[in-house]
């Protein structure tokens, strides 16, 4: 456990801070390539997925986790140096107010918003009320042309037992998967790992990635934000969640049983994830080609109300432990062989 823990602690800050808004994941691909050195054969596909292959004689297993993060695209910048943006991903505009936007070459700008008359302090904020302060006046238009893609700058922090960052949703799963790959070097599967691009735009990378690999079995590692009545029974810090049902997805019984056995073999306590309105890449992968038996393990996280979320360090480590046990091989049905 301690190796997993130190691996996650070393990986996560760098992954959180890497540039990688949906569709422009170059920075996080680079960070992952470095972290994955020596763990398998790496490749990229047309959608921008980073893939790792570790050949084995067993069934073809797809292990998938998203790697993209929230971002903005400049729609115009006027002569005062103020710009308008459209959002990449599903974050509520109000969460992004006050965030620093960083562009691939390191340029920065600030996201503010028009507090119109009668505004309810931002609760009803629409994306077209956000503005980008470039600080450049007239030169802004040339420096930030229409179509420039920026990411929300993350300044990850460790607060007690919690990891706190703007990109927890896209990167905590990556850290857990990399740590698991380092821990379980021998695999009984023909293992394909997809660090999926454009997940925040509707599981686009998972769609093409799963088609390309044509797996016999898939496990999705993701983050689930706990909020509202639906997920009120889940606690951050009480272990990884096994996905039973979410929007467009129900767990495949055999794939789920495999995860359960991996959890019990790794002595990891789990919780159940059941939700109607949100979903992960599991939905796209289970429907790939003629269908793929798919299971989901999700790291629970809390939203702060602003750009960052909070995940418990132990939940991430235990997710890694569970996945590592799965890759190393778990006892077959019946348990005690």
């Amino acid at each position: 456990m301690s190796t997993l823990e130190s691996n996650v602690d070393a990986l996560l800050p760098e992954l959180l801070a890497a540039f990688g808004p949906s569709g422009r994941e170059s920075g996080v691909r680079r960070a992952l390539r470095k972290a994955l050195r020596g763990l398998g054969t790496l490749s990229e596909d047309a959608t921008g997925n980073l893939r790792l292959h570790r050949p084995g004689r067993g069934p073809r297993l797809l292990l998938a986790t998203p790697m993209d993060a929230a971002g903005v695209i400049v729609t115009r910048v006027d002569a005062s140096g103020l710009g308008r943006v459209t959002l990449l991903g599903t974050r509520a505009p109000v969460e992004l107010v006050g965030s620093t936007v960083v562009f691939e070459d390191g340029r920065k700008a600030l996201l503010g918003y028009d507090r119109g008359p009668g505004s309810k302090n931002g609760a009803d904020l629409e994306a077209d009320q956000l503005f980008l302060e470039t600080g450049l006046g007239k030169k802004g238009e040339r420096e930030f042309p229409v179509g420039s893609v920026g990411a929300i700058e993350d300044r990850p922090a460790r607060l007690g037992e919690f990891w706190c960052g703007a990109n927890i949703e896209g990167r905590a799963g990556c850290a857990a998967v990399v740590a698991a790959l380092r821990a379980a070097r021998s695999s009984r599967y023909d293992l394909h790992v997809v660090f999926a691009a454009q997940s925040g735009l509707g599981a686009r990378g998972a769609t093409t990635g799963a088609f390309g690999i044509d797996p016999e079995l898939a496990v999705v590692v993701d983050v689930a934000h706990i909020e509202g009545r639906e997920t009120a029974g889940i606690a951050v810090g009480k272990g990884p969640c096994l996905g039973l049902k979410e929007s467009g997805y129900v767990a495949h019984p055999e794939a789920l049983a495999l995860l359960k056995r991996a959890a019990s073999a790794a002595r990891v306590k789990t919780q159940w994830l059941i939700r109607e309105h949100e979903g992960t890449d599991a939905r796209a992968i289970r429907a790939a080609r003629i269908g793929v038996p798919t299971a989901l393990v999700a790291i629970p996280a809390r939203r702060s109300g602003a750009a960052f979320s909070l995940a418990h360090a132990r939940d991430i480590t235990q997710t890694a432990a569970l996945v590592a046990k799965l890759l190393a091989g778990v006892p077959a049905k019946g348990g005690s062989r």
């Binding site: 569709g23 596909d45 047309a46 006027d78 042309p145 179509g147 769609t207 390309g212």
Partner: protein, 359 residues
């Protein structure tokens, strides 16, 4: 090589043809006649899309297999959709009036009083509603819903109407194609202008292997393109579109892009697509090198066949090049004919660049 000319006359014929989503036959027939002698294979796929394959001319001097392969360049999917927004007859009233529903996105504010061509015979009808003096004052201020309109073909009984029209018939806007200087007026420029650019390109054998798809049912959910792309299994895709220009009195300068007459409009992102960054860069660079002005389509809005194509199979790097038209999805649109000429040239030269440098 010099880029092919844009076929203005073909745009006129295609614009006047009826082709509401799912009923693209007339448009397809015109395209078949136009391109059949210029392509290697031509077929209609299961959903109705017209699919042509064209290989580049064989190099003059025999070369080793390897070098010829590398010179052929990537297999490029070029796609434009044949269908347009319109109406469908869903019931015929006792008094001979037709009840209709919209096919694709049409703004209800522009419908009342418009003349439509109904069914295969092209019979004309007016979209009517209660006149203002029979409507209460508050109701008069509201947009009339399509459910309160009817298509009037002049029949006075159901039996009379049924002699000319059947439930399920399509109705399209009745608009003549006209030329005023470099301006062209007509219906369905979204996406007959793309269809015409695509035909203009394939009639001069392109420099790379091309699968040309004139797709069906784009306006009702990008349906035809996904299936065609899956079969074509291309390396790269470029979608040719007619898109909305933004200029109008009261529009702020920043909101009005792209502009009619402003050159090919390139997409970075829309609701369905993150355009492939390398491909967008190549299009922009080719425009600069060839002195073809380009402009950016406003990010965040709209969606095209490219969304579906980019996610087909294991994924295809995709981009969209559009002609900015005023008043799309309405009875009459305008475009500046220099724009599709420039789109034709830009895509042609981009195909040449793809052959040289795409890996």
């Amino acid at each position: 090589m010099i880029a092919p000319p844009f076929d203005d006359a073909l745009l006129g014929r295609l614009s006047e043809a009826s082709g509401v989503s799912g009923g693209e036959d007339a448009v397809r027939r015109i395209l078949i006649d136009d391109v059949r002698d210029h392509v290697d294979t031509l077929e209609i796929d299961a959903l109705g899309s017209l699919v042509a394959r064209i290989s580049p001319a064989a190099p003059r001097s025999p070369r080793s297999k390897g070098s010829r392969r590398s010179r052929r360049g990537p297999h490029v999917l070029l796609c434009a959709h044949m269908d347009e927004v319109g109406l469908m007859v869903f019931a015929i009233e006792k008094d001979g009036r037709l009840r209709v529903r919209r096919v694709g996105g049409i703004d209800q504010r522009i419908l009342v009083g418009q003349v439509f061509r109904v069914g295969a015979s092209g019979l004309r009808g007016v979209l009517g509603a209660l006149p203002p003096h029979l409507v209460s004052r508050p109701e008069r201020e509201k947009v009339i819903s399509i459910e309160d309109m009817y298509l009037d073909i002049g029949a006075s009984t159901r039996e009379e109407a049924e002699r000319h029209v059947a439930v399920g018939d399509y109705a399209c806007f009745d608009t003549a194609y006209e030329k005023w200087g470099s301006t062209r007026k007509g219906k369905a420029f979204d996406d007959r202008v793309g269809c015409t650019v695509l035909a203009s390109l394939v009639k001069k054998r392109p420099p790379v292997p091309v699968t040309a798809v004139w797709s069906v049912q784009e306006e009702v959910g990008l349906r035809g393109a996904g299936a065609a792309a899956r079969r074509a299994n291309a390396d790269v895709a470029i979608v040719l579109e007619g898109t909305a220009s933004g200029e109008a009195p009261g529009a702020s300068p920043g909101e009005s892009a792209p502009l009619m007459g402003g050159g090919p409009a390139l997409t970075v992102q829309d609701r369905t697509l993150m355009a492939d960054a390398r491909l967008v860069d190549l299009l922009e660079r080719t425009g600069k090198e060839r002195k073809i002005p380009t402009q950016w389509k406003r990010p965040g809005v709209g969606g095209t066949d490219a969304g579906r194509i980019s996610l087909s199979g294991a994924g295809i790097p995709s981009a969209v090049v559009s002609v900015a038209c005023r008043y799309i999805h309405a009875p009459a649109a305008y475009l500046d004919v220099r724009d599709p000429q420039r789109v034709t040239a830009l895509v042609w030269h981009t195909l040449e660049s793809l052959r040289k440098e795409w890996t």
